[in-house]
Amino acid sequence: MRRFLRPGHDPVRERLKRDLFQFNKTVEHGFPHQPSALGYSPFLRLMAIGTRSGAIKLYGAPGVEFMGLHEENNTVMQIHFIPDQCQLVTLLDDNSLHLWSLKQHGGASELREEHRFTLKGPPGSPPSATQATAVLPHSSREVLYLGTESGNIFVVELPSFRVLEDRTITSEAVLQRVPDDYCNRRSCELVEALREHPKNPDQILIGYSRGLIVLWDLQNNKATHHFLGSQQLENLYWQRDGSKFISCHYDGSYTQWPVSSDNRQPEPLENLVPYGPFPCKAISKIYWQTTKNGLPYIIFQGGMPRASYGDRHSISVVHGSQQTAFDFTSRVIDFFIIFSSEPTAEFDDPSAMVVLAEEELVVIDLKTAGWPAVHPPYLASLHCSAITCSHHVSNIPLKLWERIISAGSKQNIHYSNMPWPIDGGTNIAPDPPQRDLLLTGHEDGTVRFWDASGVCLHLLYKLSTVRVFLTDADPNDNMNTLGEDEWPPLRKVGTFDPYSDDPRLGIQKIYLCKYSGYLAVAGTAGQVLVMELNDEDAEHVVDHAEADLLQDQEGYRWKGHEKLKTRDGPVRFEAGFQPFVLVQCQPPAVVTSLALHSEWKLVAFGTSHGFGLFDHQQKRLVFVKCTLHPSDQLALEGPLSRVKSLKKSLRQSFRRIRRSRVSSRKRRGGGNASEVQEANAKFDQDALQEMELAPVQRKIEARSAEDSFTGFVRTLYFADTFLRDSSRHCPSLWAGTNGGTVYAFCLRVPPAERRMDEPVRAEQAKEIQLMHRAPVVGILVLDGRSTPLPEPLEVAHDLSKSPDMQGSHQLLVVSEEQFKVFTLPKVSSKLKLKLTALEGCRVRKVTVANFGSCKTDDYSENDLAVLTNLGDIQIISLPFLKLQIRYPCIRKEDVSGIASCVFTKYGQGFYLISPSEFERFSLSTKWLVEPRCIVDMPEVTSNNHVHNKSGMENTARKSRGSGRSSGDYGEDERKSGRLMEHALLNDEKVLKEIQSTLEGGRGSYAERNLARSPLGHGLSNGGAD
């Protein structure tokens, strides 16, 4: 009575599982999606970026990172660091203010939200009366000045956020001494800018949007100077000595104003429209930086001639006769200048400009002639061309690592040598345990090599496959070639370029052999390139071969895209990976699977039509196999390319619409184009919804051999195993299709000494049709010790034990629905684990991962790491296929996140949480890469009274009904737990909490499943439920 057997709970195994598996989302790599605000603390040398989803991220020296999430998920409009404090204030678009602080806890600093506050007017007043438009943290660190839409400035005590009503600066008080004729024209204006006097903390400069600027004396509570601007004001900036300030305006002009005690209502010193005389766009922010040599740096955002350059996102730097308008690839969110912050220093002496654009961070070195860009160590724009695939290689040998770095350094010569200027905090995380590479394939035909060993995902080297092909876009036709006398002096900066010239160039599959340095890359138009690492530039011919995958089929016409045209003759390649063979699949359908065996010098590739094997040593096609079902017209005609082209045309139309909207009217304040963005987002959403408006109804139909795309090759695998008989093993190639078919080919690879003389032979040995016909997503051979076979050359490099060839081998076939182990060579079913039939989820990604115990160094085991279409991660034991543990990881609606997931060999993983950000997670207790850093606190004494007051404020706010206890972070974080991606992952307490709930809830589920799996099928466990 098998069904009454219930496997007992093995406490030893349960304990071991705790030592092996643990789920953590550790760090977000890349560039924040939809950044909306920027802040910088010269005191802490930390930069803060806020996003439209309410996340706030702090960055300092490489490895120093903090992340916080506003519970409301509202757009962060402004970020202001409190002078000389480890604190910052954020303003959200719901008009709430949030005080964050960095505190040390358990040896590392943590970012926490301390308080929040929304300015409320008297009952009946319009919301605009208290809508904050400008925030000024005073250098006394005790108060915050809040300029509002009504023109009133409220004074709020810190950190309690108590409104000091008697100190409010009303617009009436300000307007009292303004001449009548001026005042009549301009009443009821919003506060555009608040700036504290650089030398005298008792004076603040108030700028109103209609042009009036007032110097306000805080001691006497009255205006001392009036500056009667005639243009709509955008921003203000003090000169370092406080003798002058500069205002910038909506009409593209900037004005210098003198501040002296003898003239209380001075005329402007200078009024200039830098890109006049034709109408110009607004200058939204300006810096005036003094230098030792006397020539100031004037740096301003915008101001371009409206008609001809109104669509540029520019920041101009003017220094004497030098002037450059840096032209950014996307909208500039904000920027700041890093300059000497020593209060005793006489000059600003700016060293760098940091620009946050919508899609990338650009840092310009202002010290070096020519103002080169600085290569950022983090915040890389992963999406500078859309990511189409990724491939992770763990534990790179030092030699290969150095060669890749050296190839990359030759590409980076145009970058500045300046050390990274934002260097606050100290990274105290241990050195990464090993060198890991993450390779991303992009739509523009490039492969980027990222250092994924540590917290900072850093670009090492960029490989382009475009050079092999003739494309419409001439590589020399870039926009940088502007003449010397060109006006305005635009200079393109940044790397963000999402619009691919030819979608066929897109990279679909990557395979790197870390021992030999061979790299295989396959793309959208059926191109397969095999490359070798060369430390020198070289010019050579790329060998061509065609693989006709439709060999014995007749009368079909491929209606998809054409293959890429290749360049004739030798091609010059820069140092790095250089292609030496191009195998072109025919029809040129997208390559869906790829495998490289560097020891046998073979590359296998598959498309929706079939698969082939190529000998890259002899440069000879070994065989092709058509997997197509004759009735599968869809696959033949190439609908994939049709889908692609639809996507492309959609994208183009969106682009058109976006362009036309961006050039529409500017909105006031920090919001700038956010309205446009919103409209765009809404438009995108509507369009998406329209596309998804299929009836919510699903057909229940068994899969049949005639379904479309059954021939689609999903996976390819090389193995040296017992395919024919149990006495002799031989090289073999395995292929799995969408229709649940597995093909096995026996290979004869000549010995090394005759490798060039004899051809590689292949012969089909087996064909397995899984009756459930689900797509085969993984094939694996386990050796006599039930260990997965090592990678090619792994044994040769003494990095792995030789596989056991004595005991009998087993074949593991993973379909989207089931895991199945077969014996070899007979291929009889041994055991299986059904996933879909029992849980309704399907396998999306599967990898073998090695898990080490955190308790003992000498224990490790291999398991399967599986990601399902519901976004759950499951760990399944080998070879017994028992579910060990399950973690929810990605929202099931996040299809692109699930599709982008890549596992590492040691139980970590990455997936895209936005087009530009990878979330890193770890399933292992042993391998964990997460930020751990310290930001030193200044004088702690000043914090004392802060704490006393905060208690009072708590009760006060509670009585007002906000009902939120600021002390209980755990509670808060649990609430925001639904947004795991942005959860405060630095916070150990939160992590532990999440962990414990996961282990508690999930553990029992896992146990139930464990209890169930030996029975194999949907037998529920009696009354256990």
Binding site: R3, V696, I768
Partner: protein, 280 residues
Amino acid sequence: FGAEFRRFSLDRYKPGKFEDFYKLILHIHHIANLEVMIGYADVHGDLLPINNDDNFFKAVSSAHPLLRVFIQRQDEVDYSNFGTNTLSRKKKALVTLRNDNLRRRPHINISMPHDFRPVSSIIDVDILPETHRRVRLYRHGCEKPLGFYIRDGTSVRVTPHGLEKVPGIFISRMVPGGLAESTGLLAVNDEVLEVNGIEVAGKTLDQVTDMMIANSHNLIITVKPANQRNNIIRSSRMSGSSGQSTDSTASHHSLPTSHVLQNFHPDEMESDEEADIVIE
């Protein structure tokens, strides 16, 4: 034994009587004194019996252009082959079907239940609440569509807190001529409660779809019929069902709740699942 092939023609529109055809077959094959079972391959590749005028006529009229007729000695007939296998997939099995024999047999006009191909059955009647129905669909032959659609909806449940609306999965449409419709046991707006013993509560439409498709070789769905008037009255089974109840453990007492155990052997399910084919 071994196979023997004959080819002969019949008038498609006037095939005549089964009796004559039977005699003709015996005559052609020189097996006049054998009791044999005649079967044919239908358009879907299923092996179906020919044993009366009607199905003989159906066989001849649906043949295009050839009708493949299989003759088997009566006592060797493996009834499970009828309908459970497809010719296209089980070629090997068919080879053994083509046997010629030598014996007469009594004339049968009405076939035995096992001469029919089971398409569906109501199972576990004794352990399910009367308002529920557990239906097993036999998907024989890959060509025959299961033929139904499911949708999201809301269902009213009795809970300790009173009536509550909860999300549920419902049958939304039947494909005319499909297996589901032809059984008459499932209907539009029936609420799906379980798929092969697994509750669907808390699962999304897509999950349930995937589960049903993954189990399509032997789909057992427990529904709460929208029309509650045709419910089975306990202990008097519907004569229409082919009596394929698999409840072998009658001692199994269980409460009529929605958490009813799935009451068939895992082994049995296993055997129902077609094995993977390995071609050497």
